[in-house]
Amino acid sequence: MARYVILRTAWAIPVLLIVTFLTFWAVKAATDPVQSYLRINPRATPEKVEQYKEAHGLVGSTPEQYVRWLGNFVTLDWGNSIKGNTPVWPDLKSALANSLVLGLTASFVGITIGLGIGIFSALRQYSKFDTLATGGAFVGISIPPFVSAVLLQVFFAILLTGWLNLDTPFLPVAGIYPPGQTEFDLGLRIKHMILPVTVIAIQIIATYSRYMRASLLDVKESEYMRTARSKGISERQVIARHAIRNAMIPIVTIAAIDIGAIVGGLIITERIFEYKGTGDFLLTALANGDFPQVMPLMFIIVASIIVFNLLADISYAWLDPRIRLG
């Protein structure tokens, strides 16, 4: 097991470096920091521009620039944004925190409900519930998140509010707090998160109920289930101890991969609900061509995907001995 972990980890490091280098190259070409600097500071003299390039490591070949940038990134010297000249880290930190709160809440809600539906479906295959759940999952996966988001907004902010004759929208459709609110308020925070969490959870419920159903049906066919039954264990125990546990193995790895994708995966939902997370941060930074803001976030996005993929592989090997021994 230790050997497996070391080998997989050793493989992940060059992959991380190569992918982030390509990202660095692409992001620099797509944001063009010097051009952005000139747009924000139109009267900068050529000397000023040279000075800026020098100070921000924008001289030399791309690999040289990348190594210099990586050095600064690792030592947490993230510099200032081009627009507004504000430090990158505090803004990025709060965006990361907001996205994680949203993503983890939605994942928890979505995975719990999804697994429940999946288990129930598989145990009663071809029942009415199963047909309904499978059809619902198909529809749920098909709905693009921005369509479900705007439909929820229309329903809760306009139609329902109109029918109930309310002065304010039934549920808030934008932001993390109402305008003006600066202090922490759990009730308001939850209220503002209901719609974004629903949008993300719809997709998660749909995918995980399908995964769980397929996985559990697979396990139900296996021979160790028959062995367990023939030992005289009650059906309940067979399901709980043997079937669901084994069916969970592939689900755990999929969940690990999905959680790694949270940092870069909530762009649409965050933009629609004006939720100040990494997606919103990224879109604004890209629109401003703000390379110093985009690149650290991109590195975190790529690193989180690679690390969680690694965790998924390791957990799979740990949970299923056939992988590491085979």
Binding site: A30, G264, L286, I305
Partner: protein, 329 residues
């Protein structure tokens, strides 16, 4: 003997009886596939619905009551523009902020959305088929490298990748030359193809890998058939089903991607107002309670995507009967 069986075999709803298999002339695989498709009720309903939507969009110049960019007056003898009119008998889906008829705009917008979706699916399907077939047929190291690359690509957040690539042509002239001008259909189709080929590649590779071991390929090899003949005569006809299924799902995915990008402001230019573009102002429209401007485009988009996916599901049942339902994310 044939005389007895013929009338029964001609009845399309009648399945060939396995017991009578030797007596009844067997139906061709295509015939069987059509039968299976026709029994998939959701797919049949979707086919009809999608046809209606597609025909209406293509015939927009005839059907649409107003022009795509025509600001309509309140009445014949008035210069007042019909701004933000809620749905009524004259404007079925209402009008927008400068008095354009939303129903007409949705019909014209459908041309853009459907075109980009289908064109992207064809090009992504071709790229994926080529890479998957090559990897599967050659195997070994080439297969390993190609599939590692595919895995890596699948892991990256699609939308982030595509947005960054979308910005490239705006800053770099070489990218505009290679990928297409910013806001053009060509750029959009190129970008979507570049991120959407992976599923097809994986599927085709899997099918080719399993076919390679089949006896009929071995038999073909044994009688001296060359690689080219094996690929053209045996592998391609046997992979066409899964490829068509995969491409159908890519059409839906491409329409979603295009509309998402246009919605976020990274899509086509305003002269090509796709369904996603019509929704781009939904934030303002929701605050100002112009619900029709948000509701109708999103419902049309949703209906179209559901129809295509159900058709894909039906096609999978029809063309790919051995394959268990794959979980597609």
């Amino acid at each position: 003997m044939v005389d007895v069986a013929a009338p029964r075999a001609l009845d399309p709803d009648l399945l060939v009886d396995e017991v009578e298999g030797l007596i009844v002339p067997s139906a061709s695989p295509t015939r069987l596939a059509v039968r299976r498709y026709r029994r998939h009720r959701a797919a049949m309903v979707s086919t009809v619905a999608l046809l209606v939507i597609a025909v209406a969009c293509i015939a927009a110049p005839i059907i649409a009551p107003y022009g795509e960019n025509e600001a309509v007056n309140v009445s014949e003898d008035s210069n007042l523009k019909a701004i933000h009119v809620p749905p009524n008998s004259q404007f079925w889906f209402g009008t927008d902020s400068i008095g354009r008829d939303l129903y007409s705009r949705i019909l014209y917008g459908g041309q853009v959305s459907l075109f980009v979706g289908i064109a992207s699916a064809i090009s992504a399907g071709l790229i994926g088929t080529a890479i998957g077939a090559f990897a599967g047929f050659r195997g070994g190291r080439i297969d390993n490298v190609l599939m590692r690359g595919t895995d890596l690509f699948i892991g990256l957040p699609l939308l982030v990748v595509i947005i960054i690539m979308r910005l490239l042509p705006e800053k770099q002239p070489w990218a505009a030359a290679v990928l297409g001008e910013p806001g053009s259909k060509r750029l959009m189709i190129t970008l979507i193809s570049l991120v959407a080929w992976m599923t097809t590649a994986r599927i085709v590779r899997g099918v080719v890998l399993s076919l390679k071991e089949k006896e009929f390929i071995e038999a073909a090899r044994a009688i001296g058939a060359r690689d080219k003949r094996i690929i053209v005569r045996h592998l391609v006809p046997n992979t066409i089903g899964p490829i068509v299924v995969a491409m159908t799902f890519i059409v839906a995915a491409a329409i979603i991607l295009e509309s998402t990008l246009s919605f976020l402001g990274f899509g086509l230019d305003p002269t090509q107002a796709s369904w996603g573009y019509l929704l781009a102002d939904s934030g303002t429209n929701i605050i100002t309670k112009k619900w029709w401007l948000v509701l109708f485009p999103s419902l049309v988009l949703l209906a179209t995507i559901l129809c295509i996916n159900f058709m894909g599901d039906g096609l999978r049942d029809a063309l790919d009967p051995k394959q268990e339902q794959r979980v597609t994310g």
